[in-house]
């Protein structure tokens, strides 16, 4: 509340340049810079008016023309990359997809994981051993 009031009071004080401000500034500037006035400075600055050289337009048009070509080249590279990615995408899942005859093996993948252990066993010679091996997957494997 107090701050808002203070801001309002501060707004009331808006100093503006006095009548002699410009003349005073020019006099001070003249003391620093000799006889050169602001008008003279402006005239002096106008002496340097660089203009486009003879080749400017042609150079620019060449650069402008190169822009779409470069973009078209990039577009081609992008399209080729997209086509390659698409082809790879179509081929890769097929390479990985199981064939129908592999389905039973995949269904017993857990048994294959202990294949090495099973391979160490001797040939099954009697019915009891055969039964034990048939129940092997129900046993807890300890290593």
């Amino acid at each position: 509340m107090i701050k808002a009031h203070l801001d309002q009071l501060l707004e009331l004080d808006q100093p503006t340049p006095s009548a002699g401000f410009d003349a005073d500034f020019k006099a001070r500037l003249a003391a620093e810079t000799g006889d050169l006035s602001l008008d003279q400075l402006d005239q002096l600055l106008e002496l340097d008016q660089p203009a486009p050289s003879a080749g400017f337009d042609a150079d620019f048009k060449a650069r402008l023309a190169a822009t779409p070509r470069a973009r078209r080249r990039l577009a081609w590279i992008g399209a080729l990359a997209a086509a390659a990615a698409l082809a790879l995408g179509l081929w890769w899942p097929r390479a990985e997809a199981p064939r129908p005859e592999e389905a039973p093996m995949l269904a017993h993948l857990d048994l294959l994981e202990v294949y090495e252990e099973v391979d160490l066993l001797d040939a099954l010679e009697d019915e009891d051993t055969f039964e034990a091996v048939a129940q092997l997957h129900t046993l807890e494997v300890t290593r």
Binding site: D35, L36, D39, Q40, D42, P50, A51, R63
Partner: protein, 209 residues
Amino acid sequence: MIDDDAALMCRVRDGDVAAFNELFARWRSPIVRFTVRFVGHQARGEELAQDIFLKIYRARARYEPREAFKAYLFRVATNHCLNEVRRAEYRRRPISVDELLREPMDTHGASPDALIEAARMQRAVREAVASLPETQRAVLLLQKEQGMPLKDIADLLETTVSAVKSLLTRARRALMVELAPFMTPHAAEISARGDLNAGLGAVAPDGGR
């Protein structure tokens, strides 16, 4: 209400290449004048001017006529020039009289001696402007060269009008100190008339570098 140039730029945005050529033809000279004086070097200034037009063309799809086209154009130009002079590897190149003599110039059939004197004077002016601090240079060129209102310059540089006034005053004072030795009052009078042959005789003898 959009200006003619902004309307042209809208057509560029919509794919009208002829409209871009028209804008380029209208603004190439003011932009080259701005960039060359900003960096103090003709060839580099021209490259920057081309960069600016290319930037505008490449960004055409995003153009929205929210301000006068001139303000938009010089916003791009000023930012591009400021980026150039703020680059770590940027070095201001010395300006040679020979180089200035190769620049396009309306000589009014002046003698070779007069042309050399004119080139010396031009070099002094260009060096003085190019040696100003970058924000002072930007304000001076936008205000003196382009006649841009202080409010627009303040918006463009994201500062206040009083800060712009202060920068402008400091720039002019620095130039007056720097260039005072180059002109006699008579020479100023002559240069105001653009009479190169007559004016060059009034150049202070110790003014050349």
